[in-house]
């Protein structure tokens, strides 16, 4: 068992697809809110396996896509300061700020380095004590525990030149916000790796408050198809619930140690989401004991507030209300090389996928 091929077994996939085809009794639309799911759905051609009655909509689950213009502008402002190194995960460097991106700043000479772990940023801080190292913390509950451990380690190492610029976010408030604002969907494919940490119960409000079905899904083709089947069954039986398809990794309570780590370093704060604006208590900021490492406090910036391009319809796309082809910017001003809105930025974004996989 290598845990890859088995979940991509063509025979099993066909069986599941057939089962779904025989189970549908009406039209269904489901939203996946994890970039990893969006990516897997595209990559394995899941759309082509589903009957036409089922549509899958990509929600706000790619942490890169929803990173605000203001955050990128702040990171760029820091990167232009003397003696400052920006350390970041890879795909963030393409995200457009109001007038530039980290990628363009890097080409123009800024010291911007890509790492695979926050701990790599600590090593850079230790070996280059004369530079100020600013780590861009990004991601949902999946990556926030890693950043929490990084902050605790930085404290133990007594690093004076290591700072965090946090854009960490949590999932339930945005899901709540899009449902409240009106959305045409029947259920959610819930993010598997978020639930590994948080436990599946954080999605309980979806069936209880809104009567929406939800299934926590894994990331392989058989996982996704089984999740769709579970959602179809929940709706057919009119029994919305929190289903757990990804049971090999997800429990009700999640990873308690990781949650404790997160809780000891971060506290909820209001956060800006690209395409959605401000959502209360949807972000994570450093607690008082860790304020010392907060880039915003240590090096205050005075940056002009930027407004998103008013023609951009990413907010509606992320809510599943509109599709990319009716956006006046799509394929014109907005392309993968020069993205305007959130959904064109990452390979996981809806517009980016449409650009690549749907021809005119």
């Amino acid at each position: 068992m290598k845990y890859i091929g088995e979940y991509r077994d063509r025979g099993l996939v066909m069986k599941l697809a057939d089962h779904i085809r025989r189970s549908v009794t009406r039209n269904y639309s489901f939203m996946e809110v994890c970039g990893g799911h969006t990516s897997a759905i595209q990559r394995f051609g899941i759309h082509s396996l589903l009957p036409p009655q089922i549509s899958l909509i990509s929600g706000p689950g790619c942490p890169v896509c929803v990173t605000s213009t203001g955050f990128i502008d702040r990171a760029i402002a820091y990167s232009r300061m003397e003696n400052v190194t920006i350390v970041t995960f890879g795909d963030l460097i393409r995200v457009p700020g109001s007038s530039s991106s980290l990628e363009k700043e890097k080409a123009g000479g800024a010291d911007i380095r890509i790492v695979f772990s926050g701990l790599d940023a600590l090593e850079i801080s230790r070996s280059e004590p004369d530079r100020t190292i600013i780590f861009l913390g990004i991601g949902f509950e999946t990556t926030a525990p890693g950043t929490a451990v990084t902050m605790k380690t930085a404290r133990e190492m007594q690093l004076k030149n290591f700072l965090l610029l946090s854009a960490h976010k949590i999932m339930p408030p945005v899901m709540d916000s899009i449902v409240k604002d009106g959305i045409r969907i029947d259920g959610f494919i819930c993010p598997g790796h978020v639930a590994v940490i948080t436990g599946s119960e954080i999605f309980r409000f979806l069936p209880e408050k809104y009567g929406l079905g939800c299934v926590v899904s894994g990331f392989e083709p058989t996982d996704l198809l089984q999740s769709v089947l579970m959602l179809v069954n929940q709706i057919n039986e009119e029994s919305p619930d929190v289903g757990v398809q990804y049971s090999r990794a997800v429990t009700e309570k999640g990873n308690i140690i990781a949650r404790e780590q997160m809780g000891s370093v971060f506290e909820p704060c209001d956060a800006e989401w690209r395409g959605f604006g401000n959502i209360p208590a949807s972000g994570l900021s450093l607690k008082k004991e860790f304020e010392y490492f907060d880039a915003g406090r240590r090096i205050p910036l005075n940056i002009e507030q930027h407004r998103d391009n008013p023609a951009c319809i990413c907010g509606d796309i992320l809510r599943g209300l509109k599709q990319p082809d009716i956006c006046p910017l799509f394929r014109n001003a907005c392309t993968p090389e020069n993205p305007v809105g959130a959904c064109m930025v990452s390979s996981e974004g809806t517009c980016n996928s449409w650009f690549k996989y749907h021809r005119q």
Binding site: G35, S117, Y357
Partner: protein, 335 residues
Amino acid sequence: MNEFITLNHGSGGRQAHQLITELYVKSFEMSLPLTDSAVLKNNGYTLAFTTDSYVVDPLFFPGGNIGKIAVCGTINDLSVSGAVPQYLSASFIIEEGFPLCDLKAIVTTMAEEARLAGVRIVTGDTKVVGKGKCDRLFITTSGTGLLKPEFEHISSGKLICPGDKLIVNGALGDHAIAVLGARNNLSFSSPVVSDCASLNHLIQSVLEESSKVHFMRDLTRGGLSAVLYELAHLSGSGLLVEEAAVPVDDPVRGLCEVLGFDPFSLANEGKVLIVAGAEEYEKVLGILRAHPLGKKSALIGEITGAHKGEIILNTLTGGKRILDIPSGVQLPRIC
């Protein structure tokens, strides 16, 4: 075009394509289609001529070094045009302070690789620049080869027709992952070795036996995806590719899963895509598999008359999707 050159312009994807067509081709009034080698006719002889610059970090990696790529890469560019590579030039831009022993090791590798491939390095140049003015060592090689008239069509692909088969000579992505693993700032060590090799003997053995090779390209930057995209545009035909048939070894597949990379877009230094006529593809496969550099050769798809200019991928799991040209350098994903 962006204001600055970014790393994306050198990645072999969409932006690199734009730079070439919108700046170089226009300014130099070059003739289309662009091929790996220029085909030059002179007094009855046909010469293939090509040049390439090599930068790699780190300079030494499992399976080779910058010198080996500089020789193999130019030999391969000539070979996939159907030419027999003969002479190379080698120019070095060296940063002040570069260890002489490293230069010697690299040059020794180049000499050895050229000897094995049966080509001669006959001219060259050296420039030394101040500290910080270049990253240790850059090498440019140019090469010429003799092109028989019956193979002149290969680089332009003008004989490609529906029903032709797509063949690769082995597993993809080894070079990119070997280099990534060797790069100092990554904290994983992978057992993957670069596939860097001169393909001229392999390709000659095919061309000697089969007259039905309609197109060849080496799968370097941008990998298989970029070459398939180029092929679809060049031929105006549709391409149908079976994902399950494309060989990728387990360590590369595993690392791609972890890092969010697409093995189809990873660079190779010893892999070629061959488009062969339907009537002789089995013969071509047989010849490839009999050669040490082609043991894992595989039939991965075909040229179709439908969906012109597009690449349809039948996915591992039985789904279908369009395969797109990679855009920019591949970046590790957050989640």
